[in-house]
């Protein structure tokens, strides 16, 4: 009996602890998913409804409408003329989704493309010294709020406010350090003998990159791309500040549900939140083996 207790005490304790944490970690995700299916009279009910018995897709239909619904309403201005407004929330998620896709995908693609080339140069030709490489991290580690004010002023002068290209450039800058460091950690793992062999056979520098290195690090580049996509997709502050109407991204769109005329529309918020966050969760679990490398700038590998 004593031996039995001794043998099972630790695994039991471990399983209990891990389950407790798993519940903590999973519960909020469970809650938005569950809320997104609740009809509106269950949003604020007490005691709380955990799983709705009257589950409905209404919230999703409302937030992600398939057909254009009426969203224009008219209010009088100071002189009494009617002014047409668009409802703050109606029909906007699709627009925001389009913006988010455009901005996140293109800035990530550009950052990974140039980052990979730079990383190759650093790995093989030392075009940046170790010190410079670490200084590159400053670009990422400075909190974005510190540069937001100057960026706003600068962008107003350049007329880049509220444009997709403005945001793409900003995200290119903030994700470049990740791109360089992460792809460099993959390139460093490729043995140099292969390039030397290619060189002897007369391959040009660009041919070596494209035909020798790239195929070998392709999965690493994909992982880098997806990792940076997660970060860019969820970025809030810069897109909140540098956009007004035209290039509202999904996280900013979500924040517009707060304090708008509709009040606390938990169900709609949840339906939108599920749409924003589930793609990232799937991507993240898909590249889970590379997350460590990403978050530590390639310094820790699995």
């Amino acid at each position: 009996m004593k031996r039995f207790v001794k043998k099972w005490r630790y695994p039991l304790f471990r399983t209990l602890m891990l389950t407790a944490w798993a519940l903590l970690a999973g519960f909020p995700i469970f809650w938005i998913t569950s809320t997104s299916f609740k009809p509106d009279n269950e949003w604020h009910k007490w005691p709380p409804v955990y799983v709705s018995k009257n589950a409905t897709l209404d919230n999703y239909r409302m937030v992600w409408p398939i057909h254009q619904t009426g969203s224009i309403f008219v209010t009088p201005d100071q002189k009494g003329h009617g002014v047409a407004h668009e409802s703050v929330t109606a029909n906007k998620p699709w627009h925001a989704l389009k913006n988010s896709l455009l901005i996140a995908l293109s800035s990530t693609a550009i950052a990974v493309a140039f980052g990979t080339l730079l990383a190759y140069g650093v790995s093989r030709y030392r075009i940046l010294s170790d010190t410079r490489m670490f200084q590159l991290l400053v670009l990422r580690m400075i909190p974005p709020i510190v540069v937001a004010a100057p960026l706003t002023l600068y962008y107003s002068v350049l007329q880049l406010m509220d444009t997709a290209s403005g945001l793409i450039v900003v995200y290119f800058i903030t994700s470049l350090p990740y791109a360089v460091w992460m792809t460099k950690s993959f390139i460093d793992e490729v043995p140099r003998e292969m390039e030397q062999a290619a060189e002897i056979l007369g391959a040009s520098r660009w041919q070596t990159i494209w035909e020798i290195i790239f195929p070998l690090i392709r999965s690493g580049v994909v992982a880098t791309f997806l990792f940076i996509l997660i970060l860019t997709w969820s970025e809030y502050l810069l897109s909140f500040i540098l956009s007004k109407v035209d290039v509202v991204t999904l996280p900013v769109q979500l924040s517009k549900y707060e304090g708008s005329t509709e009040g606390r529309v938990y169900g709609h918020q949840a339906a939108l939140a599920v749409g924003i966050t589930f793609p990232l969760i799937i991507i993240g679990i898909f590249i889970r083996k590379h997350l460590v490398r990403g978050f530590t700038f390639g310094m820790v590998k699995r």
């Binding site: 471990r14 709380p48 140039f114 030709y125 960026l151 809030y236 993240g284």
Partner: protein, 314 residues
């Protein structure tokens, strides 16, 4: 060492062109972003809010704007709050993440399922986290509901309305969000430790605690430092969750430096003051980032050395 690693091609103009093609975009970016900081410099030395006329006519104020910021007690309180927030949340993430990593170190059934669930918080969009927790922490929401069921009384905590509880809530939110970060780093660190050391210590009759404190912990030091430094720096700049959940309130209980900066520039429209404050924070952050990087560099060399050892790692 460096020479052996680089590829020996004939040096020449081709090589130079090649190198600069790779470097070009980086320099282009830096040149592009530079004027923003010059503009900010202009605003820090000129007193201007958007209620005044054109910004190019603003009055030269010398160091006046900086003096205003440095004598602003609200700014110093915000700085103190940021430091407390970053330290406590980093500590919390570290303790929880390290404990989880220790528990997940050895493979067992269901390992990958637990791993997938544990990384969920890190993959959730920060704004989504803020709004989800607003629903959860709602006075008649599920957290009070669950506590009521467990404690068999009617729990009615207003998580977001009372200053000390709100601060606690924001810190817990950050810990919830970023524990996975420490967890995955520590797990990777633990699995790169050579298992022979552990076995050797066991054969020599060391207790589990001694193996942990005298064998594993010293070897994990670089990874620990890495996790702590990166987490602390990120926490210093945390904005989206705090802002979306509380906008610095109740009162100014959760008004950290990023929140105060945001309020100054985008709510009060004190552009000059915001610019000067940004500069001060920027300089301070660059100093601690450089300090952090200096530490990181030292630790990275140690990590690389451990990885380079034959038999170590995977």
């Amino acid at each position: 060492m460096a020479n052996a690693q680089t590829i020996a091609r004939k040096p020449g103009r081709g090589l130079l062109v090649f190198k600069w093609t790779l470097l070009g975009p980086l320099f282009g970016l830096l040149l592009f972003i530079l004027p923003a900081f010059l503009l900010q410099l202009y605003f820090s030395f000129h007193s201007w809010t958007i209620y005044l006329g054109s910004w190019w006519d603003a009055e030269f104020a010398g160091l006046g704007v900086f003096r205003d910021v440095l004598t602003d007690s609200r700014f110093w309180w915000a700085a103190l709050r940021s430091l407390i927030f970053a330290s406590l949340s980093t500590l919390g993430c570290f303790v929880a993440g390290f404990a989880l990593a220790m528990a997940m170190h050895r493979p067992f059934r269901g390992h990958s399922l637990f791993y997938a669930v544990f990384i969920l918080p890190m993959l959730t969009v920060p704004v989504v986290i803020a709004y989800t927790f607003e629903m959860l922490l709602f006075q008649r929401g599920p957290i009070n509901g669950i506590l009521s069921t467990i404690l068999m009384t009617n729990v009615n905590v207003t998580w977001l309305a009372q200053p000390p509880i709100a601060v606690f809530t924001v810190i817990m939110l950050e810990i919830w969000n970023w524990t996975p970060f420490v967890f995955i780093i520590m797990l990777a660190g633990l699995s790169s430790l050579p298992p022979e050391l552990d076995e050797a210590a066991q054969v020599l009759g060391a207790s589990r605690w001694r193996i942990f404190s005298e064998v594993q912990l010293p070897l994990l030091r670089p990874v620990i430092m890495l996790a702590l430094i990166l987490r602390f720096l990120e926490a210093m700049g945390e904005f989206p969750k705090t802002w979306a959940l509380l906008q610095g309130g109740p009162g100014s209980a959760t008004e950290t430096v990023p929140v105060y900066l945001f309020l100054t520039t985008w709510q009060y429209f004190h552009i000059s003051r915001g610019a000067a404050m940004s500069y001060l924070v920027l300089i301070f952050m660059i100093l601690i980032v450089l300090l952090g990087i200096r530490l990181l560099r030292r630790e990275k060399q140690t990590i690389d050395a451990i990885h380079a050892k034959p038999g170590a790692g995977e």
